[in-house]
Symmetry: C3
Subunit: 339 residues, 3 copies
């Protein structure tokens, strides 16, 4: 079970209760009254535990699991070892996410005002929001119901935060409007000036950055990620995006709905990503580009041109992935004298 | 106009006033008494707005702009649509930066001491400097006139900060001397120990890091950027450098005047960059190298050898840029059977 | 000498005292009573200074040094200029690290409770530990003897920290158990949720992250580095690892003993590194890989497959280093028409 120092487990649930949460149904013959106490991956699960099976890679672990119950697709039910109670569901992994969340629910905000928190009299903080120790809420900021602002976070003047959003320890926000159910991890920096200068022999003259950062609902922003505000237009992260740690988003960038941006990527100023783009770790996207919806950018790729809808690219400079691998194979053969 | 939640606009100005700020002059026939209320890019500007035109890429937007007035080079004045009042200046973009700054001036420091700020009795903080909520100023630290130290920033013992420098929310400084008009963005880490160890089978033994970080005047240090202090010599960032977010500068590095270091670059220990070097995003420079003045390092380049003055390099390992592209073209042809 | 604003030098020591600290012995004829006041590198050392010589690269500096005394291997003693008192030791650089530490000892923790610090009544903080200004210690957290928690650091509920560990300014820890003599630099983020989602057309559904981060003794974690907690298993950093700034460690990763991870590297989820692996700057390791003990990953490498014990790889995708260089040479020749 999860370390009780850090996680509080809910009371046990019956298979029937779990089936409801999982949006599935107990398999024929399964005992709906069976009591489950915890969740665990297949290989670690034991009596009293619920697990799940979806990916064929874990078929062996499934066939030998000692879990008491398992979430499984109807078509895989036959693979289960005898004695494992099954809950049938279309998407066992998603179902498991919901059940795990029910066993280890996050504590809801209850209106705590931490010691040392500095809330400007002109801020509007919902009574139900938690404000952590030494957090700072600036003048005119609005913090919605159920928000949790952790210790040492700094919410700048005028920043608006929607309901049930979490801002992690030591993060800082300014010049931004944040939606509901957004999670901003510790140390993220949102809304500082973009990197805009008029450069010349006399030096680099800063261009006032007069835009904002807009973050829509249900977005995740990883730890120590930085998102600069727009120069005049806004920097926009659309709903449902998940952005990992140490990502850099330049000014005026737009990230479409549901995009996935893995750790340590950078998106330079004014580039626009369509919906559901996936950018793997440490990739870079130059400025002023258009990345079509559903495009996939490989890890460490260096994108220097527009990418079409659904295109998959790799390498630096990034090229279509099949072309990339043909080049790698060719070069390898040539270097070994087989070209 | 810029969101008034975050930006305070100055009162309207006449074309004559703007010409003074722009260091330009109204075009023959322009009405010096014309009142301008705001700045905007060409495509968004409307009546009452001032815009600028410099880059031919925006020629079309210029020719159809509905801005009331525009900063423009004398030789481009003829391209302006009728009815747009012109201010002629040699460098319209720089001029626009100054005018935008006049319309949206930063609030000057006025000697605020934020609630929860912890200022050591042995620190010397100029009466005019603003110290944000919960900021910490250590013993012996000196904060110059007009500085703004934002909330949660930590200024270590003995750190000296020149006039009108800004330290962003949650940044931390130690073992460093900082010049005037420096801007340090949120979460930057300056002056921690460099990464120096005597390694062997017995383990990694830390070498005391006995140097400092010296940052000269008019430097920008991006959000979550890290600059380690020297091991004995100092780490030095010379005047006028602009360093973007999430850059890593190792111990004993020297960055020459006016360099531009884009986001997520890394410069390893003891490397020295000459003046006006440009390092594009995600590039890396190995340790103990010399990069000549005016050199240009492409995005994601991996520099493993000294680079000559003015040289332009690309790739990992970094090679002269023309050679890099010849190799890319050759490999592409070979892989397609056309080599 | 080191800037007295930042460093406090101990009283002078005799050559005999230094020999004890260095675990060496004065060379025949050296004056054990010679008084040394400071340490310095060979080229800067003058009268009263102790330096060291180990690497042949500095042979010239050694032969002309004006240091009063020098740590040196017995076999190099003959190269010393006349008048330099020698201390013979097997590993002069390690010895120098110890002596430098004796001249500039870190101030021990003395039980300071900084102004504005927020210590939960249910936390257990050893009386000898220093807690900096505005630091936050959560309920159930345990801080061992001699620890130094710097200003603005946030130690989450239940976090356990062993003896003499240092947590830098503004760092945040949650869901983790930390060993003794660990050094965590400013802005590091340890223990936040890993990046785990069940993705589908309905969006990205967060998987509760129910593991921890375990950091063993004598580990260094660089500034603004991020280490996510496990999803169920733990993320583990074994003893003696040194991790530089801005490194990203994903959930469920295991890093073996004594590994060296240079700045801006990323290790994706569930990868396991054996002992004494060296990963150079900006390299990336994909998820679910095994990297054998003693492997060496070059700077900016992109590792996409398992790496054998002791293997040295380079490039993206990473390949054996000799193969990498053969390919580079071949491509260069072909592009120049000499292939």
């Amino acid at each position: 079970m999860a370390d009780p120092r850090f996680f509080t487990r809910a009371t046990p649930m019956t298979l029937t209760q779990i089936a409801v949460i999982a949006e599935g149904k107990p398999a024929p013959g399964a005992d709906g009254g069976l009591v489950l106490r915890d969740v665990a991956p297949l290989e670690n699960a034991g009596p009293g535990d619920l697990s799940f099976y979806e990916n064929a890679r874990f078929a062996k672990a499934f066939s030998t699991t000692t879990a008491s119950a398992c979430l499984v697709k109807p078509e895989d039910a036959g693979m289960a070892p005898e004695g494992v109670a099954l809950v049938l569901c279309a998407k066992p992994y998603r179902a498991f996410a919901r059940v795990a969340g029910a066993f280890y629910p996050e504590a809801p905000a209850v209106g705590v005002r931490g010691p040392g928190a500095v809330i400007d009299p002109a801020a509007v903080v919902d009574a139900s929001a938690d404000i952590g120790p030494c957090a700072v809420i600036g003048a005119g900021a609005e913090i919605g119901p159920g928000c949790r602002i952790e210790g040492q976070a700094v919410i700048g003047s005028g920043v608006v935060i929607g309901a049930e959003t979490v801002v992690g320890a030591g993060a800082s926000l300014s010049h931004c409007l944040i939606g509901a159910r957004v999670r901003i991890y510790p140390g993220a920096r949102i809304g500082q000036d973009g990197f805009g200068f008029a450069s010349g022999p006399e030096g680099h003259l800063k261009i006032p950055q007069l835009g904002r950062v807009l973050i829509e609902d249900d977005v995740e922003i990883g730890a120590n990620t930085t998102i600069d505000r727009g120069s005049g237009p806004d920097t926009i992260i659309r709903r449902g995006c998940i952005i990992d740690n140490q990502v850099q988003i330049g000014h005026n960038v737009e990230i479409g709905e549901g995009c996935v941006i893995i750790a340590q990527c950078g998106v330079a100023g004014s580039s626009k990503l369509g919906d559901h783009v996936v950018v793997a770790g440490q990739a870079g996207i130059s400025g002023h580009l258009r990345i079509g919806a559903g495009a996939r950018i490989a890890a460490q790729a260096g994108v220097m041109r527009d990418i079409k809808r659904g295109e998959e690219v790799c390498g630096a400079p990034a090229i279509p992935i099949r072309q990339f691998w043909r080049q790698q194979v060719k070069l390898s053969k040539l270097a070994e004298g087989k070209g």
